[in-house]
């Protein structure tokens, strides 16, 4: 609170900025309110994803062998690549916010375009992974008509086939299906957030091109930046849980 009152006295020169809404005292108060509102929204998002993480943790503790088997079937190369793509896009987003704050418009637009491109790359790689799961009949239930959950199981002593599911002792197909329900729910919700984020960044690029942002008014870039980083953090936790943790149990 002290923060807001202090800034009231010092930022009176930006009073009357064209982007100042009438119910705010000054630009600083407006920015602070916007950031706070976004954080409150992100808390609800954390709880939303938290529920799915909870379900994952619970089922993993009940079916460790099945979750390892299923986790080992995921494409770790594409997963690692996507992690790198997303963290880098978070970096370019942070650069875009910085450039907006100091009023460098051309690098700002460039950073936003790179962020959008990386976000779409992530979604493209994710789509490839989903298609691989479809090919291997790993879409749970009968979500896809005519292609129910029916993966081929790797037989002992047969040459390893990457398209076949290698079941560890104690794992059943029904339990593996539970993993894939969670996998598609979690990565699917995450991908949906990415699609929304890509739409928001497109909006930012259009408004930047129109010259709507300046060092006094950059809340939209900042707030959408917060959202983008949040989506990145969700992936930072999804990646080890879904792709990496299975390997430990198998390799010792």
């Amino acid at each position: 609170m002290a923060n807001v009152i202090d800034s009231h006295a010092t930022t009176s020169e930006v009073h009357g900025h064209r982007s100042l809404q009438h119910h705010f005292e000054n630009m600083e108060q407006q920015r602070e309110a916007g950031t706070l509102g976004m954080w409150v929204f992100l808390v609800t998002e954390i709880m939303f994803f938290g529920g799915m993480f909870l379900a994952y943790t619970l089922y993993r503790s009940i079916y460790p062998a099945a979750f390892s088997s299923a986790s080992n079937h995921l494409d770790i190369t594409l997963g690692t690549l996507n992690t790198a793509v997303l963290i880098f896009s978070s970096f370019t987003m942070a650069m875009a916010v910085y450039c907006t704050q100091v009023g460098k418009r051309r690098p700002q637009i460039l950073c936003l375009v790179i962020t959008l491109f990386l976000g779409l790359t992530f979604l493209g790689i994710k789509a490839k992974e989903y298609y691989d799961k479809y090919e291997d009949h790993l879409i749970p239930g009968s979500l896809i008509p005519g292609n129910p959950f029916k993966p081929e199981v790797q037989e002992e002593g047969q040459p390893m086939d990457p398209h076949k599911l290698h079941l560890l002792p104690g794992a059943t197909l029904a339990q593996v299906q539970m993993f894939f329900w969670l996998y598609f729910a979690m990565t699917g919700m995450h991908a949906l957030h990415m699609i929304i984020g890509a739409g928001l960044i497109t909006f930012l690029i259009i408004f930047s091109l129109k010259g709507r942002f300046d060092p006094q008014y950059h809340s939209p870039v900042e707030v959408i930046g917060l959202y983008w980083h949040f989506v990145d953090i969700v992936w930072i936790f999804l990646f080890p849980l879904l792709y990496l943790l299975g390997r430990h149990l198998e390799h010792g």
Binding site: M47, G50, L58, L226, F230, F237, F239, L244, R247, H251
Partner: protein
């Protein structure tokens, strides 16, 4: 960042705790610096902390239930 990402290429040497610790460190880094919480007002700190607090309650209460009823089979 790149070093951590490269570290992930050898996941079978990590156990669950190490993997999650790295994820938490990465996440904390993103929150503090990319999301500017480090330089934000006290109120934003409180909001961020409350998220972790409620999340902790949800996990703690759920597991205090499920992990103590092993005599009932869950799922199939």
């Amino acid at each position: 960042m790149t070093v951590i990402a490269a570290f992930y290429d050898f996941p079978w040497k990590l156990n669950a705790i190490v993997a999650l610790t790295i994820a938490t460190i990465k996440g904390t880094f993103v929150v503090l610096y990319f999301m500017h919480v480090r330089y934000s007002s006290r109120l934003v700190w409180v909001i961020v902390a409350s998220a972790l607090f409620w999340l902790g309650i949800m996990f703690a209460l759920t597991f205090s239930d499920y992990l103590t009823r092993s005599w009932i089979s869950i799922g199939y």
